[in-house]
């Protein structure tokens, strides 16, 4: 696991890709043969216990190195789709398979271990108010049992990547919305997960900040991380030029590029 990287010599702070070297894979290009599938939805339906129907008969394959946009109006089931991917919800019907593991049957510690391989950027950031930026990001590594030394080694390059190295000792309420969003991205990627899910990462941001966030995600995709982003911002999607699927009333539609 990630602890294996402790022995490596210290790196120069700017060399981000070396921090993420344990996920580096050939950069996907259009011409390449299809990559390994990292996540699959098989005929997945989700109805919440209060009878609210979120997803209906969804089929989706996500391949290694993909950068996938999921669009749709609010309430169309985008967040539910991501929640199914990181095991916060379970499908009412069908199977969700991530990294070869059926999430229906995953409980307890096995689910925890799978979640370490999935970074999540939450719509509401989910930052801890009484901890600094540094602590909020380091929190993930503490929770996963990393050593102090390794936490320090990873933190600076990660904060640099999202452009927050100067705000490490600020508290979340001292940051702007865009900065808070970038903290939550830093927290999602500091554990070097091969899969990154971002739920409306640009939802509360202006165009400039949104584009900055997308640029960070593109950079992460370039070093081999599989990225799934939900958004209702069609403009942004067109600008970025990545594959898009659309959710309408719980059904999934593939959109031509």
């Amino acid at each position: 696991m990630a602890q294996g990287t402790i022995e490596r010599p210290p790196i120069t702070p700017l060399d981000i890709s070396s921090v993420f070297s344990n996920v580096s894979r050939p950069i996907p290009t259009q011409a390449q043969t299809p990559q390994k599938i990292v996540a699959t939805f098989q005929q997945v339906s989700k109805t919440y216990t209060n009878g609210c129907r979120a997803l209906l008969d969804v089929n989706l394959h996500i391949r290694q190195g993909d950068f996938l946009f999921i669009t749709g109006p609010s309430g169309s089931g985008k967040s539910t789709l991501l929640k199914l991917l990181y095991g916060a919800e379970r499908p009412s019907q069908g199977n969700v398979v991530v990294d070869g593991q059926d999430l229906n049957r995953l409980r307890g510690n096995k689910l925890s271990l799978l979640r370490r391989r999935i970074g999540v950027v939450f719509q509401d950031y989910k930052l801890i108010p009484r901890r600094t930026v540094f602590e909020n990001v380091a929190f993930v590594l503490w929770a996963q049992g990393f050593t102090r030394k390794e936490i320090h080694r990873r933190l600076i390059p990660t904060l640099k990547m999202v452009g927050l190295q100067d705000k490490a000792y600020c508290f979340p309420d001292e940051l702007s919305g865009g900065e808070q969003q970038r903290v939550s991205i830093a927290r999602a990627i500091v554990g070097t997960p091969p899969i990154l899910l971002a739920d409306e990462p640009t939802g509360n941001l202006d165009a400039d900040n949104s584009w900055q966030v997308i640029k960070i995600l593109k950079k992460l995709n370039a070093i081999g991380i599989t990225i799934v982003v939900t958004t209702h911002d069609e403009q942004l999607v067109r600008q970025s030029g990545h594959p898009v699927v659309q959710l309408r009333n719980g059904r999934l539609y593939r959109q031509p590029l």
């Binding site: 990181y86 916060a88 996963q144 049992g145 050593t147 102090r148 927290r187």
Partner: protein, 300 residues
Amino acid sequence: MLRFLTKSDYLLRETMLGLQRGGWMNWAAVSTVTVLLFLFGMSLQASWQFESLLNQFGSQLEVSVYLDTGIEASALKSAIETFPEVTRVVAISKEEAWQTLVSEMGLSDIQGATQQLNGNPLVDELKVQARSSDEVPLLAQKLTAVQGVDEVLYVDEAVKRIAQLNQGLNWLSFGITSVLTLTAIAVITTTIRLIVMARRREIEVMQLVGATSTWIYLPFILQGIAFGVVGALIAWGLIGGVQQFLAQLLAQQPDFIQFLADGLQLSSEKIVLLPLILLGLGSSVGLMGSLFAVRKFAVR
């Protein structure tokens, strides 16, 4: 090794953070445990002291058996030794008893005394040691029934009363301890649950980033155990203080009471055992309380 250090580093830090956030609730939990363990420790000690007091009156576990005239003590001794309640039998012939009596009365001329009374007036006697105070009355009954026994004497009442008192106190302390144990567990559960609630956001994030349940909840469980351990230490200190105070009070009393107080001294092994028992009970109460607090949250 590195992993262990990382773990204990994390656990220690999180436990301290939890205690910091507990504020006055910590005090509520610790003081309940202290009261519980103080009362429990005092009653345990009192029970031990009664026991040693009983042992000091150990000679009164003894049953004196006076035989019919002409029956020899040594003849019955082996038969009585086979009784299951009996630990020891000493035969005292009437000659020995007479000699002791005469010398105790301060007479120097034993033959003269014997002649005056037309021979030795005493009978042979067996001193029978019972195994425990409970069995003394039954043993006495059995001994009365033996052929050749004239009379059986024992200090029935005193022994019985002390034993009864001890038993009563044991029941009382058992009752109080059980009620207070439940109270202490409830208070610890509430305290830790409040802290868990206050940190629910953090816990949620921890769960989402892949922390295992053990990793999340172990600090809370350690916190509960810390309540128990601190409570036990305070209770032990209080018991020591009370003991010291009583000892000073007794030192000014007349000799007879001091003689009784000697019986209240605990053996050195019990002096070590007391804090260990307090720590054990304290930490298990803390453990139970914190387990109840996180059980509901941990099942996911």
